[in-house]
Structures are given as C-alpha cells and as structure tokens.
C-alpha cells in the first residue's frame, strides 16, 4: 500500500460518461461543441459590470444563464454564481450519463471540483453591505458561499454523494488535478465521481484581484484581445464558466449499460515556482508531459492531438511550444486551443478543455484555434488553424498551467460514444 492508499499495480479504468458545460460558448455540451466547430467566440465587452475605467474591459461571459431556472430556488440566494454554474452543469452531466444518484450507494459517490476565486461576486456584495451599511447587514450565507469548497459541498448535498469529497485550488491547472484526484478515488472504493470546475469572477473585485499578474489583456477589440501563439499576443482574456464531468470506473459504467466519451489514460502534475524566464517553465512542462505518458504506458507517437494551455503571454506561449516540440518533435503533433473562444476560465478552463477534447474524440475531429493571424516566431508547433481537421483522433493530451507554478497534464482516450459524429 502506498501513501495514496492505492495498492501498487492496481489501477482500474476510469471513464467519462457524462458532460455538463456552462461556458461563454454556450450552455450545454451540444451548444458548446457547435460553437467550437463554427469558431463562434463568446468573448466581448464586459456587461456584468461597467468596465469603463478598468484596465481590462473584455471577457468571456456565459450568455443567457438564468439562475432562477437552472438552480434549485433555495440555492439561488444562498450560493455564488460559480456554484450556480456547477449545480447546473452537474445536473446536466448526470442526465447525460443517465445516472440517478438516488439508486447508487451514497458512500461510493464523491465530488471533487477545482476552484480558483471562490465565491468572489457574492463576497464583494457582502463586503459592500459591510462598509456601506454595517456589520449587521452582512448576510449569514457569506459564511458558506464564498469559500473554495462551497461548490463541492452544495453539489454533494444536492445529490446525496457522501463519499470522499474535496476541492483543489491549482488556479488554471486545477481542473486537471481534480480529474486526477477522481481517478484516485475510483481506485479506492468510489464508483462515481462528479468532477471538473467552474469560476465566475467577472466582478470588479474578481477582475482587480487578477490584475497583479500583469497577464490580462488590456486590448479593447474582442477579436484581438486573446491571441495565444500569435505574433500579436497581448496576454489573456478572463472568462467565466467551466464543465462538470461524471467519471466512473469502467466496470460500473458497463454494469449500468452506458457508453463513455472516453477514458482518463494518464495524469501527472508538477510545480515550478519560478515564473520569470521561460527555461524552468519549459523544463517542468516537459517532465509533466513525459510522466503523463509514462503513467498511461504510452509513447509520444500515440498522442493524436494536444489541447494547449495557451497562456497568451508571449514568454509562456514560447515555453509551452518548446516543451511540446521537445517531447513530440517540431510540428510533430497537432496542437489546438479552442479556448480562444472563451478566454481563460481559471478553475473552469482545464475542465472545459477536457470536455472539449472528449467531444472531439467522440466526433472524430480536431477542433481548430479560431481567430489567430500570424504565428509568433519561435513557436515550432503544428497549430490547427482556420478549420477543424477530420482525422479521427483516438487520444488527446490536455495541458494546463496555473499562476504561481501549477503545471498539469491529462491524457484522454476515445470511448464508445459517438453520438456527436456527423
């Protein structure tokens, strides 16, 4: 028995049977996937608050989300928007997986989500109450709405999932780490895990808190604001939303008679606290990719497409391109970043990338990176531009890096669900 509680040599297969999406590209996996194939961007001028006077005025907002219709009534005033998103996405994912939690053993179901900002907007509102009206005006629900585990807790309560639940805070990499943790839980007695992540920090407090990184784009034109791997890259656009996935062990999914979008084949994480200069970032990412492949028992030639982290910060893009080129050879694997349509969604970003990768595998398509112009010099990667490639990929490697040094990779393989194939 290792420290993780997993007996050496024992690893079951972990498959994804349900996908729930709430993203700037649309609500629901089908609408999101249509937007990805069409290259339809969800980035625009911020409408959730008046961004005039702020250095960042463009973001990816979820269109048409109505909490009153998509979230249980009691939970609307009691929880933050990032939890609203996750509650709606979890419901969709369970329906998609044809999984009824009431019929499954409660201690064998778990919830593990990623969080980056917590309930920022809720917290801002209560802070306004505090300094404008006084302490007795601060709502009781501030105590449970703001914190990182709020989403996991509410989803767990809502669906009666009483197995080992938790939250992972790894900034933009957290979505992959949550899925890595789900796989561990499936190897230690859980049979179904709701996992992924959401973020909703498009309020003044949330955006201002991100400004100190210096990585957000100050560009006003939504079509020019987030251009990773491009000669005109100027940082990234923040976005809201994310994805929740139903992850099950393969035997459990088979016993329920449901198909899967794909399998979690390999996962690894690393940490690089040095954010200045590209050398270390590149080295850590190379190591993480190689360990992910080793974890899956596969070699680089088995990878059919890479979903890039796509920072949009030129030095970070260069480091990622160098890492990919070092493992796969220059131009050795198709690389894509559909997140140019959404902006970077923090805890929701990598989770949405995994959802997109699984939809791509089930459709047999490599989605393109919409909106780019001229590739940045030095990025020796085969970036999929202009239109999707119909190459029937069987595996996808998803990369994610979070501010401060979080670095993770997840390899997914195609399943037997091909409902989206055209």
């Amino acid at each position: 028995m290792s420290a993780s509680g997993i007996r050496p040599g024992r690893r079951g297969r972990s498959v994804v049977t349900g996908i729930g999406v709430v993203a700037p590209t649309g609500i629901g996996a089908a609408r999101h996937w249509e937007s990805v194939l069409a290259g339809k961007s969800g980035i625009g001028r911020i409408t959730r608050f008046d961004p005039t006077g702020y250095p960042v005025r463009v973001a990816g907002e979820v269109p048409g989300f109505r909490a009153g219709e998509q979230v249980p009534g009691r939970l609307v005033p009691q929880t933050d928007r990032f939890t609203h998103f996750a509650l709606a996405a979890a419901e969709d994912a369970l329906t998609d997986a044809a999984a009824d939690p009431a019929t499954l053993p409660e201690y064998e179901m778990a919830v593990v989500t990623a969080s980056s900002s917590g309930g920022t907007e809720f917290g801002q509102h209560e802070m306004e109450n505090l300094y404008q009206q006084g302490s007795s005006w601060v709502g009781a629900y501030q105590s449970i709405a703001w914190f990182y585990a709020a989403t996991t807790g509410q989803v767990s309560i809502r669906h009666g999932m009483r197995g080992p639940c938790g939250v992972i805070c790894g900034e933009q990499a957290g979505g992959l780490d949550a899925l890595g943790q789900s796989r561990r839980l499936l190897d230690t007695g859980s049979r179904l895990v709701l996992s992924g992540g959401t973020d909703a920090s498009l309020c003044p407090y949330g955006v201002v808190a991100q400004l100190s990184t210096g990585h957000l784009s100050a560009e006003d034109d939504p079509a020019r604001a987030y251009l990773p791997f491009d000669a005109a890259a100027s940082g990234f656009v923040p976005g809201e939303g994310g994805a929740i996935l139903v992850v099950e062990n393969a035997e459990s999914a088979r016993a329920r008679g449901v198909p899967s979008y794909g399998e979690l084949l390999g996962y690894a994480a690393g940490f690089d606290p040095t954010t200045d200069g590209t050398a270390a970032r590149h080295t850590v990412l190379v190591s993480v990719i190689r360990r992910t492949l080793a974890d899956a028992g596969l070699t680089p030639d088995a990878v059919d497409m890479v979903f890039a982290d796509a920072s949009g910060v030129p030095a970070e893009d260069l480091a990622e391109a160098r890492a990919i080129a070092e493992v796969f050879g220059p131009g050795g694997v198709p690389v894509t970043a559909p997140k140019t349509l959404t902006g970077r969604l923090y805890a929701g970003g990598a989770a949405l990338d995994v959802a997109t990768a699984l939809l791509a595998l089930s459709a047999g398509v490599i989605p393109h990176t919409a909106g780019l112009g001229r590739p940045a010099p030095g990025c020796e990667i085969d970036l999929v531009l202009d239109r999707p490639r119909q190459t029937d990929p069987r595996t996808a490697l998803v990369l994610a890096r979070g501010h401060g040094g979080f670095t993770s990779a997840l390899l997914v393989g195609a399943g037997d669900r091909d409902a989206l194939k055209r």
């Binding site: 009691r74 609307v76 005033p77 009691q78 007795s136 005006w137 009781a140 105590s143």
Partner: protein, 87 residues
C-alpha cells in the same frame, strides 16, 4: 410601530434564503410546518433573525430563535418583542 405577519415572514424567507420548487410557502399549513420540512436549516434561521432585526429595529439575542421549530413560534416571539419595544 410595524406589524409582523405570516406574509412578512414569507417575504423575508424568500428574500433571504430562497424557496425550493417543491416547497409551498403559501400552503395552509405553513405556520405550523417545521422549518426543517420547509427546507430551512440553522443558517436560514440566522439570516431570518438578522433581517427581522434590521427591518423591525428590535434586538434578538444570539440563540433565542436558534431552536425555533415553526413559523408560528417565530411570529409569537417577534410579536412579544414588538410589544416590549412599545412600552
């Protein structure tokens, strides 16, 4: 001095803690239904107390309503507090 009715209680619960779709606050047995059965926990009662205090200008000591079972009990308690405030 403001009155405090069951309708006020419903309004404050709706605003502070929300209502689940399967719960009917307008049902005839509302006043005697346990808060737990209406979907409200101790945090919901805390929020209710804060809002009643602010709106009606009365002080409700910590814990006084922590174990209140039903809307009718809250109504009786707040009525007593409002009478106290008048004298």
């Amino acid at each position: 001095m403001a009155e405090f009715t069951l309708d006020d209680l419903r309004r404050i619960l709706r605003a502070g803690a929300g209502v689940d779709e399967q719960t009917d606050l307008d049902g005839e047995h509302f006043a005697d239904t346990a808060f737990a059965d209406l979907g409200y926990d101790s945090l919901a009662l805390l929020e209710l107390v804060n809002r009643v205090e602010r709106e009606y200008g009365i002080g409700i000591p910590d814990g006084d309503l922590a174990h209140t079972q039903s809307p009718r009990e809250v109504l009786a308690y707040v009525h007593a507090k409002l009478r106290e405030a008048r004298v």
